[in-house]
Amino acid sequence: MINNNTSTVNTKTSINDFVVKFANTNGTGSASANNMFAKAIMRMGIPVSAKNIFPSNIQGAPTWYEVRINEDEFLGRRGGQTEIIVAMNAQSFVADIKDVAPGGYLLFDSSKQIPEQLLRDDINYLGIPISAICLKEFQNPRQRQLFKNVIYVGALAALLDIEFGVLKTLVGDQFKGKEKLITPNVYALELGFQYATNHFSCPLNYRVERRDLIGNRIMVDGNTGSGLGAVYGGATVVGWYPITPSTSVVEKFASYCQRLRIDPATGKKNFAIVQAEDELAAIGMAIGAGWNGARSFTATSGPGISLMAEFLGLAYFAEIPVVLINIQRAGPSTGMPTRTQQSDVLACAYASHGDTKHVLLFPDSPAECFEHSALAFDLSDRLQTPVIIMSDLDLGMNDHLSAPFIWNDKQKYDLGKVLSIRELDNMESFGRYRDVDGDGICYRTLPGTHPNKGAFFTRGTSRNKDAVYSEKSADYVENMERLQRKFATAATLIPKAEISTGLQSTQIGLIYYGTTTQAISETKHLLQKQGIPVDSMRIKGFPFGSEVEKFIEQHEQVFVIEQNRDGQMKTLLSTELNIDPNRLASVLCFDGLSITANQISSDIIHVIEQQIPNQEVV
């Protein structure tokens, strides 16, 4: 039997640099307790990140919540074994014990004994009779279940030296308006705290110390940023179909609209949301609204993109503004619905048949989900084409430490080239697809604007400059070339790639995008330690700006880091910039979990060693 005390295995001391993993059962209400733990660290001024690794299941299957605490701001998934595991799920117990790093800790519910054969002698055990405490202290069965989670958070506060006052304030904030819940939650925290204080040598060698490193940052998930960005960007019409991991984008949009978009005078809504019958209808609605001059969007994930492809082709060819927020997950087909990937890059860039190209944005943080979401409506209106935001499950559904959401009241919506009745009056003639300004972007009119000028037929079939059906080769070619010209204009309007060059000149460049960003600062640190300085470039959108090609030209060896099997961004770069694919090397992760700095740096070192076998990498 395990002695309910810290074992004697030596543990090196680590302040503000370790990983805590919570192994729970899906549906047992652990999410809010785990989140409270992460947020408490943040409120102590210490950089922290949290990743929820959950099954495609409602109840009963194993789920993990991984919290990385790192005052050097290395907040990507660290990988490897874990210093502290809170093992609350019998199903995953064997695996969880194996996952503890030597010298690390396993906090478990000691109401039942652990079988001898599972024990390791190189880790420490922190047994707390959590179920027994709950049974004794709480009458309500639901409370007995829920407070198990709160008790282990209370115990961790004592073990890791988390300020108890911070936790109490968090409980108060969490249950604002439901004051009755505050007292029992604080009591449960105290139960855990007291038990740990009385039975273990607190704090452990792994512990936190207050810092002042957070500034004005917030902790929030990307889908909240996307939904709120759509509110600020002026979206009024949403057609959507629920699909993990994009569902909460529209749910957040709806909830902020309910708060912020009800006309105080009439109580009526300045928004319309329709849960469609499928993804085809969802984007159809968004396109219909875009055609009619409202800002509209849909949110989806990979399988939805496949279904929406035909409509995306229509919107591209008929030149209709529409925004699509794609929260990528592991494909192909149904793939792993609750695991992350960046594997829709090519499917989105070229969605639909024929020569079709779409504008993509790659946010890397909740703040950028907000920013890109609002910006996408301007870009889409300005360019009269679909704009697809390429978030992913990790960014969309996990809480991240992020810059705050920013909006400047001086920003005015760019509605693009839409002719008013007065402008039409002053025109001799109107032709929907005439390239008046030479930028490939034509002027459009909205239905109902003018009694006898500006009406035209929108169609997915070929037409001439005046929107009249035409199968003449010259008309078709001219139109397709103009669309290409418009795409070149798009490259000047989307956010520029973010380039970081070091003090030392280097021949090695890293290209990355989206959530891969989380691992980059740590990667550069690890490579620097090995004597490999690198420059880096974060791609923020497609089509690529001229700076992207320049960066590649300036570096002898370029690594493209992405989270898919086939190196989709590498393919896109090679194809679109006409670059020899051999100049680019892929660093890939496609196991459904976020890529780690350790993996990136070791892959890069491996490639370099193979290329210069006689030289040692120092």
């Binding site: 004005n216 940052r217 917030i218 902790m219 929030v220 909240t224 709120l228 509110v231 600020y232 002026g234 009024t236 019409v237 057609g239 902020y256 006309d263 009439t266 009526k268 809504k269 300045n270 319309a272 329709v274 469609a276 019958e277 085809l280 209808a281 159809g284 609605m285 968004a286 396109i287 219909g288 609204a289 875009g290 055609w291 009619n292 001059g293 409202a294 509209s296 035909e310 409509f311 229509l314 705050p404 959401f405 909006w407 400047n408 009241d409 005015k412 919506y413 909205l446 239905p447 109902g448 604007t449 003018h450 009694p451 009406a455 035209f456 037929f457 929108t458 169609r459 997915g460 079939t461």
Partner: protein, 350 residues
């Protein structure tokens, strides 16, 4: 054959309240086959809109893909049109309507477009009670791909190449009734006296108005053995109720034939005057309408006329409680909550 339409308007052409003649409501010259029933529908739409004095630019013409969906080119030149993708017109119209509820949405679809690839979208737009006129030009055959059987083809009929329809047909009227459409009618494109008032009433109706229009295909489905040919339809059509449409501003002087009639007040105050050719017919009984359609079909007849009308139905926007200003006209200051509010939202994430 003409390749261009004359813009000449004779001085003696009657003008409507807007000072427009029916020619102001015409479209491009049709490229459909000579004698196509769809052209008769276009003509009926032109007359209906002209007689209702609707500003042409306040109408949006929506369609999917197919012969039927090409038809909006041939009416209402001063209206915006949108040829969407096959079977997906309902969702695009939904979005367009959500963006601007103040336009009149006239949608043209076909049997392939609505009863096959678009059956799902058809069903759901009915459920959502979108305020639109949804017309299906139903010829029971695929025209543009040259003569394949459609899902509305009656069981046992043959197409031009001799293929037999092995399966039961889909009746879009009974589907619309079952799904809660508040206006359902079936017409024959060759009977303008019936079609024009029905289209006018459908436009005046606030809610989802569905008209299934039997529209024979002269090229691929006008042969013996078809139940959608001109001859077959003319021989088997029967009418439950003939309707006159009386706009709100006009006196009720429509000639009333002998027999029962009933006036139904529409949302805008105009009247549907129902003449019951079948004295048992009841246009307010949705369940009976479904039964009547099926009973006539069993007798080999096609029941036409206004099948069902609920003038009190709500529209999507009423159900959604949408603001009075169309969504595409709401100004930024009402849409964007601004910096100060965002500051408070940021605080909630600390």
């Amino acid at each position: 054959m003409s390749f261009a339409k004359s813009k000449f308007k004779h001085k003696s052409l009657p003008v409507n309240d807007l000072g427009l003649t029916y020619r102001d409501y015409e479209g491009a010259i049709s490229t459909l086959c000579a004698g196509c029933g769809h052209d008769s529908i276009s003509s009926a739409i032109v007359h209906a809109c002209a007689e209702l004095s609707i500003e042409p630019h306040k109408i949006a013409k929506m369609s999917g893909i197919g012969c039927s969906s090409k038809a909006p080119n041939y009416f209402l030149n001063n209206s915006h049109g949108f040829n969407t993708v096959h079977g997906r017109m309902p969702s695009v119209t939904t979005g367009a309507n959500l963006a601007n509820k103040d336009l009149t949405y006239l949608a043209m679809s076909g049997d392939g477009d609505s009863a096959s690839i678009g059956l799902g979208q058809f069903a759901h737009v009915v459920r959502r009670q979108l305020n639109m006129v949804y017309m299906v030009a139903n010829n029971g055959v695929y025209g543009l791909t040259k003569g394949q059987l459609a899902a509305t083809s009656d069981r046992g009929v043959k197409n031009k190449t001799g293929d037999i329809s092995l399966f039961n047909d889909i009746d879009l009227c009974t589907m619309a009734l079952q799904l809660g459409a508040s206006f359902v009618a079936r017409c024959f494109s060759g009977d303008k006296a019936q079609l024009i008032p029905i289209i006018k009433a459908a436009i005046a109706h606030q809610g989802f108005a569905f008209i299934d229009i039997i529209s024979p295909c002269v090229t691929f489905n006008n042969h013996p053995g078809s139940t959608r040919s001109y001859d077959y339809v003319q021989e088997h059509v029967t009418t439950g109720a003939v309707t006159d449409f009386v706009p709100t501003k006009e006196e009720i002087t429509a000639q009333t034939p002998e027999g029962e009639f009933e006036d139904i007040c529409l949302h805008d105050g105009s009247l549907m005057r129902i003449h019951k050719l079948d004295k048992d017919y009841d246009t307010s009984n949705r369940l009976k309408a479904m039964t009547d359609v099926e009973e006539h079909k069993e007798r080999g007849e096609i029941l036409t006329g206004l099948l069902y009308l609920d003038p009190t139905a709500s529209t999507f926007h009423e159900l959604n409680d949408t603001a009075d200003t169309p969504m595409n006209q709401v100004k930024q200051d009402l849409l964007c909550p601004g910096e100060r509010v965002l500051g408070t939202i940021n605080d909630s994430f600390r």
